[in-house]
Structure formats: C-alpha cells, structure tokens
Symmetry: C2
C-alpha cells in the first residue's frame, strides 16, 4: 500500500489516539511529514509477511519528554543523520524502516526518514501504542539488544551507544537527550527481516491509519467512533474495546522530572452515577481507576478524545473543564506475556496492582 | 625517561597535589597502576619536543565525581577499551598517549593504558592541574574539538560522542557518566604531534613526578616542601609559589550535584593574625579569600597538604580539625591568556572577581 502526503494527517491523528496520552501534539510533526512526502514521494507500507527474511530493518524515532517538542522544533533531517551513522557503524544499509512506537510522533518520523531514503515502512511496530522507555518494546522484551543505537540532535551533535542491554542503553540515551535539550532522535535495533517478524506487532500502522480516517470523518461523534474502533480492533491483533467514561476533567496535577511528564488527571463522570475516574500518567495514560477499582491498566491502551470534536487528547494538553470520552483497547497478546508484563505491566510503573486484561474487568 | 612501577606512587602523590583538591583519593589508582606497570613493563615518558609531528596522540582519562571512584572500582581495562574504540572509529592507531589532566587519577590512568599498549606517555597535559570540565583543557581553549570521544564503563557499556564543540561534548558525556553510575572512562582529542605541541603544557608530568618525590622524602616538613616546590617551579613553565596559610579546618560544607562535588572549606589561621580563609570548591579548590581579599584564584593552583604528614589533601577528604598548610602555584602562561581566562578564570566558575596573577597579590 502506498502512503501519500494526505495519509500523514490520518496517521498523525491515529497515532495521537494510540499514544494513549503520550507522544505530544502531532500538529508540527504532521506538517513536516506531509511536506516531506510531498517533496520525496509516497512511501510503501509493507506488510511484515511481504518482507524478505534477509532484509535489514532499522527502527527510528524520537527520545525525550514530548512536551519539549512543542518548543524545540526539529530540522527534519535528524532521522536521516541517525540512520546514516548507524549504517556506517554496522556496515549495512537499511532495506526498510520500522517505528519502534506507533503512538505519537514516532510513526511520522519513520515515514519522514523512509521518504527521503525511498525505502518502505513496515506495517508493524514495537509497542502497539506509546510507552516511555526503550526496554519496553516487544523487540527488547523478546531479547533484541537495541544497540548500537545512534542519537542525534538538531545541530548534528550525536552519540553511538553500545550497551550490554537495552535498559542500560535507555538510561544512557535518556541522559543524552537531557544534555541535548530534553529531546533527540534515534536509529536503533538493526534487525533482519526474519527477526523483526517474530518480535513486532503486525498491522499496527494500518490500524493507526484507519483510526485516523475514522476520527476525521465529518460529523463523527465519540460513540460512533467507538463502534468503528470495535470493527477495526476485531480485524487486528488488538483485543476488546471498552468505552469507560464520558465526563469532565476536574483536576490535573502535572510535573516534568528526569525527562518524563508525570501527571494525575481526575475526570468527573457526567452520565453514570460512578465517582470520579483517576488517570495516572508517565508520558502516557497508564492506569484508570474508579470507585477504588481498576477500570483499565497498562499495557492495555487507555485513550481519550474530546467528546465534542473527537480529537485525541494528549496528556500535556489535558486541562480543566474539558469534556472527554475515555476508552480502552486490549493490548495485543505479545504485550501481555509474563515477560512483557514484568516490563510493561502496572507493577513495572510502580502501581500496586496486578494486570487484569480489559475483557475480564467489569 | 623510563617510568617504573615505583614511580607510580610518586606520580600518584604529585598528581594528588596538582589536583588542587580534585581527582579523588589516589590510593586505589596507584595500586592498580603499579601492578599494571609491573605486569606490562616500564613506560617511556617522552618530552613533547621528542615527538614526531606526524605522530597520532590520544588523551585518556576519567570523567565524573571523584568521590564516586572510592566505591565504584574500575576493572582496569576501561582505558584500553575506550582507546580501541576511538582508534576503530578514526581508522588510526595512537602512537603516544597524553593525560588531558595531570592532576588526580587521570595521569595514572594514562600510564596504565600506555603500559598495556607499550606506547609512550607524553610529558605534558591539557590542564597543568585538575579542572572540572573538558572545555577547560588547553586543547579545547586553543581550538581542538575533543570529539569523536569515546566513553566506557566498567561493564563495557560505551558511547562514541561527536559534537560541534567540546562544551557540548562535555554536557553529553557528563550526563552519560551519570547514567553509568557517576563515573566513566574516556579516550578523546585525537591530535597530531605537531598540534599537541602547540596546545599542551610541557613538562607537567615530570613536574608532578618530582613533586611526588619531594613529598615522599623521609621527614620532609611542609615548609621544606615549599622550598623544594619553588626550585621545581623555577625550572618549569609554572609561575610563583606562595605559602598562603598554616591553619586548622574549622568548617566544611559539602554537596554532590550534577556529577560534581561542591564545597566550602573554612581554615582558621593558626600562626598569623589573619581571619579565617574560605576556600570554594567545585571538585577543585578554586578560590581562596581571607579578610575580604583574594589570596589566590583559578587558574592558579591552590594546593593543600596535611601540616604534619605533608600528604596532599583532596577536597573529599577535608575534615574538621585537620591541620593543613595551604599554598598556591602560578599557572603556566597558556592558562592565563584572555581566551583561557574566559573559560577557566574565576568568573567562569561564577565568582564575582577578576583574575589577578598570584605574583601580583599580597
């Protein structure tokens, strides 16, 4: 399937939804990605099973606190610089790119690099959503060491990091991102086609595109969108879809610490007789509780749209008085294995609850 | 001149003196360096004017808060790993090594790497003392970009950093050091012989060795040492020597922040009728004031020895009640140029005083 400049807007919207509150405002990214594809041509979106086993695949994306990208604009060539340096280091050229994270701007960044390079983007990713750290990808969870990993900033300052495991690489590159002004761009996890097929979430970019298309339909409302989403999820590796709450944001407490955005959001239930829902955030919406019970938790996706406009709301844009519809989507099975839950289950983020799949929650 | 395992103790002592309070306790470093030279043979100390102009020179050393190295021990191969990676990256082998900093453990680290490699160490360095940041070397002050620069930790995790200027490289590698547990090892500033002769402080390693020998003479006292030091400084590129104070430490306020050790030390004058001397520390002793007047300031060297044992005292070991002799040594001219003072004068460290050369102070 060919991805056109117009599709960039839909992918931006879909990825903003799948970012589960993370990833920052996709507006600037969508503008740059659209212009990039207009200049360099459409990009092939390649299904994982169409990829040669011997092909070389690289993941590209951004690292850092999403809030910062609203003010520290990219120059648009960072992905290419990172990719070139990684290729030089490995002595191999990338045949295709993959987003390590479908949620947020990272899917757009992958298309931008692919457009300039005229190579395909794979229809899949390493998170199926957005998550704050690199060792939380299905690549890393399934044994892929993401290094050597290249990070660059908008001035060309760069580092090639090699670490004994991805969690260490994450600590090092997170600190480099801080030294680079809070955000930088990476190329990492060079894999063969055979490997990438085993450790990725198939179809997530297509899912993202379809979500964006649905959300952009004229006069769509939040409830019709939930219906669309059910259909899309049924045809995908994702699980159940639940509409959790229609309500009003009544409190937001927010801080940026160590390169992450932390927040707690309280949403008052406007239609049911339930108490307020509390949503805990570390870049992403990680845990939703109501009346003392878990309504949804990471790795399942907690997503929020504006009830009136159906625009996905990122955690840095949540504000008092917003009318929001909160929904949840079951994560793909590869994100729910015991190994996966030890890294991306609620306890991995410091919450004292076990993961219960969305479909088993009331 | 051949440097033997026994010389390692003298260099450790001399470099601890020249560390002007920084560099941490040299004890563990001296033990490792002694064993390394015993195992791999003596190391040639090469005068700068004996070096071929076409030779390739690399600076090696450690980055981070010296306090940490007391608990986080090296494995002894870090310099070699860093050097090998830098050489692979540059496609050139080092013909000789130079310490970027004669003060503290960095001179020992250079000998350790040189012993394993069986290549010479140059008699010179990039600071003539110890200073907290990489852009403070005479290499950087005189236009050498210290990157590509390799940093490694004791587990082999590593990064190759390329930056547009050394100050940015410093910020990035300082943050990497934090991610590596507060300390790491570097190889950097690959230079030709012709260049290194222009941007280095000649003779500083020999000066360091002779200081160590003097301090280790049996029954030397602090005042006889000052006499020895005058003679050694006269025969070197260093300036005047002043004995500032003999006194007692009456207060120490200390904190570790952002990978640096900060402190203020107050020394009561035990022989004169002056008020207490205040010494301000950022890893190193940077500014000594007494009765409202500057007695010595960076880049001139403020050094402290135990009045009873003549053992040099590092800032992390200063404690209440110690009897200390504080002295100062004029920095080499290359450290006192306008360009140098903009980076390593008192104002560069946030002190609201202009630099006045030691020989012009009362």
């Amino acid at each position: 399937m060919k991805i056109s400049p117009d599709d960039m807007d839909d992918i931006a919207t879909g990825s903003s939804f799948l970012a589960t509150g993370g990833g920052g405002d996709p507006y600037v990214g969508a503008l740059i990605a659209r212009r990039m594809l207009a200049a360099y041509g459409d990009v092939e979106l390649l299904a994982l099973d169409e990829l040669h086993d011997e092909a070389i695949v690289v993941a590209v994306g951004g690292i850092g606190a999403p809030t910062i990208s609203l003010e520290k604009l990219p120059n648009g060539r960072e992905q290419e610089w990172a990719l070139e340096r990684l290729e030089a280091c490995a002595g191999k050229k990338a045949d295709a790119l993959i987003a390590f994270e479908v949620g947020g701007i990272n899917s757009l960044l992958t298309f931008m690099a692919a457009a300039r390079r005229r190579i395909p983007v794979l229809d899949g990713d390493g998170m199926g959503r957005a998550l704050p750290e690199m060792q939380m990808t299905t690549f890393s969870i399934n044994g892929v060491n993401g290094t050597p990993m290249v990070v660059v900033d908008e001035h060309g300052n760069n580092a090639i990091v090699t670490a004994n495991d991805t969690a260490k690489a994450e600590r090092i590159t997170r600190n480099i991102a801080l030294a680079m002004g809070g955000q930088c761009t990476s190329a990492e996890s060079m894999m063969t086609g055979a490997l990438v097929k085993k450790v990725s979430i198939p179809g997530s970019i297509g899912f993202c595109l379809e979500i964006g298309r649905s959300l952009k339909r004229s006069n769509i409302d939040a409830d019709s969108f939930v219906e669309d989403l059910r259909g899309l999820a049924d045809a995908s590796v994702y699980g159940a879809v639940r509409r959790l709450l229609r309500g009003k944001v009544v409190d937001v407490e927010r801080k940026t610490r160590g390169g992450f955005d932390f927040a707690t959001i309280v949403v008052e239930d406007l239609e049911g007789d339930g108490g307020p829902m509390r949503i805990s955030v570390q870049n992403e919406f990680l845990l939703a509780t109501q009346d003392g019970a878990v309504r949804a938790s990471v790795p399942d996706l907690i997503c929020m749209v504006d009830s009136e406009t159906t625009v996905p709301i990122t955690s840095d844009r949540v504000s008092y008085g917003q009318r929001v519809t909160v929904m949840a989507v079951g994560a793909p099975d590869i994100c729910r294995t015991a190994k996966a839950l030890s890294r991306i289950g609620p306890r991995a983020f410091g919450f004292d609850v076990d993961f219960v799949p969305l479909e088993n929650l009331s």
